[in-house]
């Protein structure tokens, strides 16, 4: 009986957080002001971190918040630098094309998700409490053994991106 009660609490929390994340994501795409969108994006990521925490992956939850808190701040500054805050709410000429593309992308993602959901029965499911995948120890061990090569390739990719960013910024500075 106690296990059931606990399960119920988890279920309620999951659906509450998931609904919150979906609503936040909807506000992100429907808000007229890009800054409002950015802030709701942060809210959405916090909700996703909450789902990670429910799945007993505290490390992932914290990293999710840490990484995206900074990333959204960058996004915010980009918005401010690339757009005129006064004219933010006016729709541009390219809006319709952008919307069409967005709708198409959304449709593709929905179809993929539906296909995945319909084949869910083919997978072997394990209870979340049995596999400690989200702790820092487990992730560290996996990153340095089984996924060492992809991990190193990723860090090389990031390094290349950093070098490229610095090169681009420098070149523009020099041409001034």
């Amino acid at each position: 009986m106690e296990g059931n009660a606990l399960n119920l609490i988890y279920q309620i929390s999951f659906f509450g957080i998931a609904a919150f994340a979906v609503v936040a994501a909807l506000v992100v795409v429907s808000a007229k002001n890009p800054v409002v969108s950015a802030i709701w994006l942060a809210v959405c990521f916090i909700a996703v971190a909450g789902i990670y925490a429910l799945l007993k992956a505290p490390f992932l939850a914290m990293v999710q918040i840490l990484v995206y808190a900074g990333a959204i701040m960058v996004l915010f500054v980009m918005i401010m630098m690339l757009m005129d805050p006064g004219k933010m709410e006016a729709g541009g000429a390219g809006q319709k094309v952008v919307r069409a593309f967005a709708a198409a992308a959304g449709a593709v993602v929905t179809v993929v998700l539906l296909v995945l959901a319909s084949t869910a029965g083919n997978y072997k499911w394990t209870a979340w409490s049995e596999v400690p995948v989200g702790t820092s120890e487990a992730i560290g061990r996996l990153l340095f053994t089984r996924y060492l090569l992809p991990f190193e390739v990723l860090s090389l990719l990031l390094l290349a991106a950093v070098v490229a960013a610095i090169y681009l910024a420098r070149r523009r500075e020099a041409s001034k």
């Binding site: 802030i39 505290p58 914290m62 918040i65 808190a69 500054v77």
Partner: protein, 421 residues
């Protein structure tokens, strides 16, 4: 869920409330303490006018200013600019204040304490007992931790919460629809880029040396002794990391010399320019809560948290000098057996909590002194400091920490043998 788990949960909720109360009282005291200290520095008297008329104009060192300020700000007009984003303008101070309190959930305020009494069967517990028929509450050996949430990723939690501190500032600056506020928000964002990575990197050395991201474990391991006499506090093993962390922390809580987002002399009051009354008070209060948070983190990561040097639940011990004293050797404790040990343990826990509070208050004092001693950095200077000085130094520090860990693993037994303890 059984009775033990329920009691643990209740104690955690209770502790969350106690921590909240302690932090808010200290923050309230600091609003007065800071003004009093600056007046000492500037050779003035400071706030001393608020008094109780009916007790012979009782002034109590101006402590009534805390209440007077609260009443004053609550009764002032709450002004919202016409062009403001109304809900965001309202939400910003709430987020600032709320977020700054959250980090205290993982701070260990005192050492673990074990209740050694007797097992209580469910029948003997009024009201609640009937829901758990046939169970017993194991009070014969019940560990109590003075920490609201013992998270395994405590350090990351604090960093994640800290990353969100800037969101309140950002929303306030953006929602106010005022150019000065907006400049303040942009400065806060650019400041965040310059400190955040360095802040994260500066404590990696601490994580490596104490081999954990759990704050209570880190504090516990700082109780060890180097060479049998020097407490293994973070400041001893990672002095460079402490300086870097403290600097980045000052940037994070936007205090002078890193208060570019406020910059009274340049952008009036920066992000909270358009705030008045209770909302302004919330920003002010959250600043003090953040200050206490930084003080607590410095104490936990680098100054042994609740650790008192050489003193533990077992007794006093300095191996190098062959000082060994167990509490059970005290004649009074020996005479009272179990109760005596329990009381001594309780006294030790209280002393630890007091020592932790002392460390936190000491750091608050240092930060207030810093604020009234240094001029403000220009914000390009802040960026240069973050990226060109602190970031490389924190990377050097990680290498140093790895070296320390290797040396410690190799030579600890040898050193112990040479020094003979």
């Amino acid at each position: 869920m059984n009775l033990d788990a329920l009691l643990t949960l209740k104690l955690q909720c209770l502790w969350a409330l106690v921590a909240f109360g302690a932090v808010s009282s200290l923050a309230g005291l600091l609003t007065w303490g800071e003004r009093k200290q600056v007046s000492l520095i500037q050779d003035r008297i400071g706030p001393n006018r608020a008094n109780l008329r009916f007790i012979r104009n009782w002034r109590l060192f101006g402590l009534f200013h805390i209440i007077a300020d609260a009443v004053k700000s609550m009764t002032k007009e709450d002004f919202v600019p016409a062009g403001a984003y109304k809900w965001m303008h309202l939400l910003a101070p709430l987020i600032s204040l709320g977020v700054s309190f959250i980090a205290f959930a993982v701070v260990p305020f005192a050492g673990p304490f074990t209740i050694r009494w007797r097992d209580v069967p469910a029948v003997e517990i009024p009201l609640l007992g009937q829901f758990f028929p046939g169970q017993t509450l194991h009070l014969s050996h019940f560990p109590v931790s003075f920490q609201a949430a013992d998270l395994n990723v405590g350090i990351l939690f604090v960093l994640a919460v800290g990353a969100f501190l800037v969101y309140g500032v950002l929303m306030a600056g953006f929602a106010s629809n005022n150019k000065f506020s907006f400049l303040g928000a942009m400065r806060a964002a650019s400041q965040m880029f310059s400190y955040e990575i360095a802040l994260g990197l500066s404590i990696i050395g601490v994580i490596l040396i104490y081999n954990s991201t759990n704050l209570s474990v880190i504090v516990e391991r700082q109780g060890a002794l180097i060479f049998g006499i020097i407490p293994k506090w973070g400041i001893v093993t990672q002095p460079l990391a402490f300086i870097l962390f403290f600097t980045c922390g000052l940037m994070e809580i936007k205090r002078i010399p890193f208060d570019a987002p406020e910059g009274e002399s340049e952008i009036v009051a920066g992000y909270f320019l358009e705030y008045s009354g209770a909302k302004f008070m919330m920003f002010l209060f959250s600043e003090y809560v953040e200050l206490i948070m930084l003080a607590a983190m410095c104490a936990v990561l680098f100054f042994g948290g609740w650790q008192i040097p050489f003193v533990s639940q077992a007794g006093i011990s300095i191996p190098l000098l062959h000082v060994q004293f167990a509490w059970t050797d005290l004649p009074w404790v020996a005479a009272h057996k179990a109760l005596g040990i329990e009381l001594v343990n309780l006294a030790v826990v209280l002393a630890q909590a007091g020592f932790f509070a002392f460390k936190v208050v000491a750091f608050c004092w240092i930060m207030v002194t810093v604020r009234w001693t240094f001029p403000r950095f220009r914000y390009d200077q802040i960026m240069r400091l973050g990226w060109r000085r602190i970031l490389p130094l924190s990377m050097v520090n990680i290498v140093l920490a790895v070296g320390i860990v290797l040396v410690e693993d190799k030579f600890k037994p040898v050193i112990q043998k040479v020094l003979g303890y």
